[in-house]
């Protein structure tokens, strides 16, 4: 069964550093997403991406965040200057006609 792959599974970074979270969506999917889950809280939508551009973003997705699909297979989330409150589990998902598939997540810890 096709999978969405996320790397790394765990990332520890110092506050103020840049991090890049990587995702390889399912190849024939057209929509790509990032969600995050802060410990003890609900899963929150960050951004959706379609046709090589952002189609929707939440209030959380401020100028510190960016996404790109640099090579047609990877889908990355960059956080330019991490803050303590960015510590969370970040999930990538891809979708075709409401068939979402989630990756296993990257646990980001900002210290």
């Amino acid at each position: 069964e096709p999978e969405v792959t996320q790397t790394p599974s765990h990332q520890v970074t110092q506050m103020g550093q840049e991090v890049i979270l990587r995702c390889v969506p399912i190849s024939n999917h057209l929509y790509f997403y990032w969600y995050r889950q802060i410990l003890g809280q609900k899963v929150e939508f960050l951004v959706s991406f379609y046709n090589n551009e952002i189609s929707e973003k939440s209030e959380i997705f401020d100028d510190q965040f960016s996404v790109e699909r640099p090579d047609g297979s990877n889908f990355t989330l960059k956080i330019r200057s991490t803050k303590l409150e960015d510590s969370a589990m970040y999930f990538c998902a891809s979708m075709v006609i409401h068939g979402y598939t989630f990756g296993s997540g990257t646990r980001l810890t900002v210290v």
Binding site: Y35, K42, V43, E44, F45
Partner: protein, 113 residues
């Protein structure tokens, strides 16, 4: 904006007991409804989904959910749980024309052997 409510965040029950997890959403238009399960250390997996048709939806692993439009609810049920059902369960909703999912806070279910 859509919102999704799940109550009783922590549920502890014994094997063979019945499980029901409540999910209520706030959106008056056409909705698509989902239940996801997250086993410890693993990714979100789809248990079942409702788009239209029969409001009683059968999913994997013996789970089912019933969509009651008048109550804005989509409760998840399993008649007899197993230890392997220990996991976190998330209800999610998206509305017609909007691909983003709105999640509830989740229910942490622990099944005691």
């Amino acid at each position: 904006a859509q919102s999704v409510s799940q109550h009783n965040h922590h549920v502890i029950l014994s094997e063979a007991a019945s499980l029901e997890l409540g999910c209520n959403y706030s959106y008056g238009g056409t909705v698509n409804l989902f239940w996801y399960v997250q086993y410890p250390g693993q990714h979100l997996q789809l248990l079942l989904k409702y788009f239209s048709g029969d409001p009683l939806v059968k999913g994997i692993k013996g789970f089912e959910a019933e969509f009651i439009k008048s109550k804005f609810s989509f409760n998840l049920r399993k008649p007899s749980v197993q230890w392997s059902d220990t996991a976190e369960y998330f209800c999610a909703v998206n509305s017609g024309g909007n691909n983003r999912l709105a999640f509830g806070k989740g229910n942490q279910v622990v099944v005691i052997p």
